[in-house]
């Protein structure tokens, strides 16, 4: 079975690095971490991921438009944010998962498993 690919966008480099390691250790392939929307968008257009973990506020703006495009293609999105309360994000994206920063690695992996349906 092919390894699912996860797109990671996070503009705080240490946090992005940690996210990538966390997800890779759990057996997934990672695209990223991307520090801005344009590079995340570029990667997504070249190669559709199976899931995305997105910080809500990236260095060049808000990630919601990218999230909308991903969800339009049925790619599940996990928001990872310190800026927004989970219920605010939830109102806008009822189907999404939201994790509050800082989030324990185990919770991130659990959310990834849940979102991918295993």
């Amino acid at each position: 079975m092919k390894q699912p690919t996860i797109l990671v966008a996070e503009d705080e480099s240490i946090v992005g690095w940690d996210l990538r390691d966390t997800v890779e250790e759990a057996g997934y392939a990672v695209e990223g971490p991307f520090v801005d929307i344009s590079s995340a968008m570029l990667s997504y257009q070249k190669h559709k991921p199976d899931l995305a973990i997105l910080d809500v506020q990236l260095s060049d703006g808000n990630v919601f438009p990218l999230a909308e495009r991903l969800m339009a293609e049925n790619i599940p999105v996990i928001f990872h944010s310190g800026h927004y309360q989970p219920d605010e994000v939830h109102k806008r994206f009822p189907g999404s998962t939201s994790l509050c920063k800082p989030c324990p690695p185990a919770d991130i992996i659990q959310s990834v498993h849940d979102a991918l349906g295993n």
Binding site: I14, D18, G82, C100, P102, P104
Partner: protein, 359 residues
């Protein structure tokens, strides 16, 4: 109906300045209104005395001019009576007045509606104020439109306060964002370093503590201005994730307030108690539950937290004591001159934590 023998001399048309007597100006000429206590008298006195700015306009005259303005109106705007009687109120508007409320007033007046608008107005000396204006029609006894009344309220200070409050909220939000971010970065450093050195388990343990602290601090932002914080919010935030994972938890403390410096102690101590409950105690079994109670028996003196486990497996105190968690709790409390009393009762583990609130 003026008595011809009225000894008062007829006033020349332009000498309104010294008067604050609408009945004269509005031609209230019914004899009954001249008696003290009559509606006309009451109106006169109320108008003269109120600190609320009021003006009346006559819609039957060209361009709906002011026919009466009370003292408060003159004090608010800086104009004398002879400078304002006969003019339409729009002379109070200026270049920075938003056209939207002006249009709203125009429409309300056309429909004889009551309206409240807020807009920038200009005084005679050119200075500006925010005017919360209440406009409405006044009908005569036959139901015909007689006047419009306007009541002006200077809300400049209020708007400043409102803006400051909004600014404070924005700052709190930004601060909260930065704080979460900082905790996320710290966690990241610990995780990444832990992996590089091959000590992931230790890193995870450290991170659990950092995250409990982060949750506790987060709740203190709302109280940032008041110096003390309600510790219950922090306790909820620290323990909520355990509750959410299905661990039965009852929090029943009161609204005790404590100095900010106590938060980190409470955060670390409760985290260790919760971690032990998960590993060895009530939360290690499906039937166990935890109750946490807190109060400040002598306010400003001590904070007491009672941790009570029920229904868990029998605990081996030595196994618990061997973990680093207990050592950290003891050490922190000792530094803060606090105490912890642990009891391994047959019905479950109990801890009474006492933290002094004075430095």
């Amino acid at each position: 109906m003026r008595d011809d023998s009225d000894p008062r001399p007829t006033r020349p048309a332009q000498t309104y300045t010294a008067f604050d007597e609408p009945s004269d100006r509005l031609g209230v000429e019914h004899a009954a209104d001249a008696f003290p206590g009559s509606p006309g008298m009451l109106f006169k006195q109320a108008m003269a005395q109120t600190r609320m700015s009021i003006c009346l306009t006559d819609p039957h005259l060209p361009d709906n001019p002011i026919v009466f303005a009370n003292r408060a109106f003159r004090e608010l705007t800086g104009y004398r009576d002879d400078e304002l009687i006969g003019r339409n109120c729009r002379f109070l508007q200026g270049p920075k007045t938003d056209p939207a409320p002006v249009a709203a007033m125009r429409e309300a007046l056309a429909n004889e509606d009551v309206v409240i608008v807020e807009m920038l107005n200009y005084r005679k000396d050119g200075s500006t104020f925010w005017n919360a204006l209440h406009l409405g029609p006044i009908y005569d006894e036959t139901g015909k439109l007689a006047y419009f009344f306007g009541s002006q309220w200077d809300v400049t200070d209020l708007r400043v306060a409102r803006a400051e409050e909004q600014h404070a909220r924005m700052m709190a939000r930004e601060l909260s964002h930065r704080m979460k971010n900082m905790f996320a970065v710290i966690s990241g450093i610990v995780n990444v370093t832990g992996r590089m050195r091959g000590v992931e388990r230790e890193a995870a343990e450290i991170n659990d503590r950092i995250q409990a602290l982060g949750r506790a601090y987060e709740t203190t932002l709302d109280d940032a201005a008041s110096g003390t914080i309600e510790i219950g919010n922090a306790i909820h935030a620290i323990l909520d994730p355990y509750g959410r994972k299905g661990a039965p938890l009852e929090l029943r403390g009161n609204g005790a307030r404590v100095p900010f410096s106590v938060v980190s102690i409470v955060g670390l101590v409760l985290h260790e108690l919760a971690a032990n409950a998960t590993k060895y105690g009530a939360w290690a079994s499906d039937t166990g539950s935890v109750t946490v109670d807190w109060n400040s028996p002598e306010p400003d003196e001590t904070l007491v937290i009672e941790w009570r486990e029920r229904g868990g497996p029998a605990i081996d105190p030595d196994a618990v004591a061997a973990g680093t968690g207990s050592a950290i709790v003891d050490r922190i409390l000792r530094t803060a001159s606090g105490t912890i009393e642990r009891k391994w009762n047959p019905e479950g583990f109990e801890a009474i934590v006492s933290i002094p609130l004075r430095g």
